[in-house]
Symmetry: C3
Subunit: 268 residues, 3 copies
């Protein structure tokens, strides 16, 4: 794989040249920020979760993101149907296993969805460890484990499921089971805004939609993009409320050269 | 009909003099912005969607808005029951057929609700074309068609259903099947914030609630009001995040004289 | 009871020293602001409402808040199961009976939950009057009654249910059935942002979680904290949009000494 840093501007340009329609089945808390983050970055969001239409819509959209933050049985059925339809249509899909490991229902649901061949699995260290069956101390959506401790679990899951696995935290780790990258962008203020990780998963779907065959590099690009936007926002905000506003502004303002200049991606 | 421009200040003053209670059954993404937009403008929102209470509440509220953005069977039943109760109580109600035409479920649901005699139907060009059975290229919540192409469909729907039809986009078109108006306010940044169209539908309900017998003029007033607020917000914001914040501030700040001075409404 | 003012800084410090995990089953409109308010203040939110996991999660979390703003039968079952699990685990829980009295379904549900021994009941005057069976003119989430008129109802409910009852409005009233306090902080702009009362209930849960055996004083501390943040935000904002942003910033910025200096708590 070439230096992923050199591809960043191209990935962002592709997304903005032909805005991908991203089908999101995400949690109630995250819908607003995810939709606005997709719009700000240059993509087009659609929140469609009903069993009666989720599979049909997944065949129309350019990518799908499934986030299990707020679960219920009808939604889980719609998630599975949409994932199967995306795979059947040759569209990428991203799984965000929010708080997997915290309750039995979450762990079971996340594993069931993981078996449906996501293109990218994006979680924090606790969630990735829980899915790999190697622990994970999470009680809620925030990880209790450092990213480093989940690297082996991420490589194992990626190899077993043929997908890209991204573990995000203070420093992100991304692997397809063979190659691996670390992304060192971001800011601690990002942990003080709810659903920012969920929005990140949605943006991964948008990037991957416009980079067929390059899921690893496109995922890294999305993580760097969000991290750079977070750094910019933190520089101009007074607290978590103004940070969230500035973050959305920054998603729209960061351009290819700016992204390439600020990204800190390195082979792992 | 007299020059609608001269009635703008009166419509806004009526809304603020006696704040209407607006019952909203709207999608998960739009609830927060719709409620805050209603409050900022001077109305009182209530989000009530359970089958067990939606009809009862529709008889209490001053107006109802039904938005099909995120659908499920129990919600559709509650939407229909609430619409019927609003009509029975002589209260106006507004239908927002989000992404009608994108999936069979959406089209069927939108047509079923349209048969329940809404006071106002508010959509983008793709949605109005889809409901009129004359095409519509929409894949999601954003329209692929210009407003101009939906004017005939809007007139046809308005005449057939005895309601006001508003087609919104870069320039809005409103008709009751006989008279028609164009509203040229607004700003492209409004397409970069999710659920702004949904909030617009909620504000139409608020305006119509305080202008019995004047649904066409009140709808035009609501569209101009939102467009003027969008123009003001765009002038002071740095991106979609700060635009949304400034938009809510502007909804509270725009007064009758300011609205009348900035509105661009003309007969069609 | 000692002067509650002197305990304010301690209550806030305890919350921030050991951030409580607050399990929220709250309405769709309030989820975003509640989660962000908890994060900004220093707590950790988790929105978990599925019947399959709500009770399990209530046993994991440090406190629970149940808010009936947007109801449906599966959610009501999850609310009851979570409340019972919180009580069984010895964890505090807060009931927010949104719009009790407006529909039969809301009143019935609120009374059913009130029977499950909440630690704190937090509502506006209309809701508290409705639960006490002594009237209440509410049609929606905003109270039509002044706080003063609900003081007797609050004392009666507190004594009957062995809980703290907080009636919030222009001036808040809190009682455990014996002692009572008034909190005179806050700003009228707080009524122009949706779900701010719901976020307040979530913050009460966070404060009570870190003050076992001091539910009355901790509730008063939470009310003063939110009121002081509202005052600060109003001083620097231009309307309801910027107020909400500044309010979240202020929740993070208000510290113990600042809270103690600005709080206006007095025995009732």
């Amino acid at each position: 794989m070439a230096n992923p840093q050199t591809h960043l501007a191209r990935h962002l340009a592709e997304l903005r040249r032909q805005p991908p329609l991203v089908h999101a089945i995400t949690n109630y808390v995250a819908m607003d920020l995810s939709a606005n983050a997709l719009l700000a970055a240059g993509a087009v969001p659609a929140m469609v979760h009903a069993e009666a239409e989720a599979a049909e819509f997944a065949g129309i959209a350019d990518a799908l993101v499934v986030n299990i933050g707020t679960l219920s049985p009808p939604w889980v059925r719609a998630m599975a149907a949409a994932a199967e339809a995306a795979v059947a249509a040759g569209r990428p899909w991203v799984l965000d296993p929010v708080a997997a490991g915290a309750t039995a229902y979450r762990s079971t649901t996340a594993l069931r969805l993981l078996a449906l061949a996501p293109t990218v699995l994006r979680g924090n260290a606790s969630e990735i460890l829980a899915l790999a069956g190697t622990g994970g101390a999470g009680r809620g959506p925030d990880s209790a484990d450092p990213v480093d401790e989940a690297e082996t679990a991420a490589r194992t899951l990626a190899a077993a499921h043929g997908c890209v696995v991204a573990v995000t935290g203070a420093r992100d780790f991304v692997t397809d089971g063979r190659a691996a990258l670390r992304i060192a962008n971001g800011h601690p203020m990002m942990t003080k805004v709810t659903a920012l990780g969920c929005a990140l998963s949605a943006l991964v779907a948008a990037f991957v939609a416009r980079a067929p065959g390059e899921a690893l590099a496109a995922t890294a690009a999305a993580l760097a993009f969000v991290g750079v936007a977070g750094e910019r926002a933190a520089a101009t905000s007074a607290g978590p409320g103004s940070f969230r506003v500035a973050f959305l502004d920054a998603l729209a303002a960061v351009d290819g050269p700016g992204l390439a200049a600020a990204a800190r991606i390195s082979p792992a």
